[in-house]
């Protein structure tokens, strides 16, 4: 796969797992949306179908931790930790802003699903920046 080019063995395994989790997420999200909309799910089943799509996302978070444990290339591990740190910082900043806006401005705040997207965006942009910074120093 193109995006695996030059990646370590641990990173390739991590990327494969993330793809599998994302495929599972797409299927589960479709099923949940369908059941909630068409089946008129109530009470227990409503909670059940609401929680199920979160499981693959939690799986991705778990897999990040496993990757950090498996990665033998210490520099790659450092880059990943830096990008997770930036993602977490962006996430916490968004939560704090959101809470103050809700508390003082009585605004509904950010729509659902934004927080994980903010974390992923922070992490992804940091990884892209670090990769670009290194690429400029490649000599062969």
């Amino acid at each position: 796969m193109l995006f695996c080019k030059g990646a370590t063995t641990a990173k390739k395994a991590y990327q494969r797992s993330v793809l599998q989790f994302m495929a599972a997420y797409a299927v589960v999200l479709f099923c949940s949306s369908w059941f909630v909309k068409h089946d008129g799910a109530e009470h227990f089943y409503l909670y059940f179908w609401s929680v199920i799509p979160a499981i693959p996302i939690i799986g991705v978070i778990f897999r990040m931790g496993k990757y950090l444990r498996e990665e033998k290339d210490e520099y790659q591990r450092l880059l990943t930790m830096q990008s997770i740190l930036v993602g977490t910082g962006a996430l916490l900043a968004a939560i704090v802003f959101n809470d103050f806006i809700r508390a003082f401005a009585k605004s509904p705040g950010l729509p659902p699903f934004w927080f994980f997207m903010i974390f992923c965006a922070g992490m992804g942009l940091t990884q892209a920046f670090l990769k670009f910074r290194n690429r400029s120093a490649a000599d062969d």
Binding site: G6, A7, T8, K72, D73, E74, Y75, Q76, L78, L79, K131, R133, N134, A137, A138, D139, D140
Partner: protein, 63 residues
């Protein structure tokens, strides 16, 4: 910290990828060490020294 990694690598005629393969690290990591953006841990510095048949202090100098 400065290092002579690039010089020793070129003496051997190895590419950054080849050196990375020998050390079981990525090419990106080799670039970061060569350019001084990343100082390797002691175990990796020992592996580097062993790969080139040099002493650690021949490769890395305190600037």
């Amino acid at each position: 910290m400065t290092n002579r990694l690039k010089e020793f690598r070129q003496e051997k005629g190895w590419s950054q990828q080849e050196l990375g393969d020998r050390l079981e690290i990525s090419r990106q990591s080799v670039i970061a060490i060569e350019t001084g953006k990343y100082d390797p841990s002691l175990p990796l510095a020992f592996r580097l020294a062993k790969t080139f048949g040099k002493k650690i202090e021949e490769i890395f100098q305190d600037s």
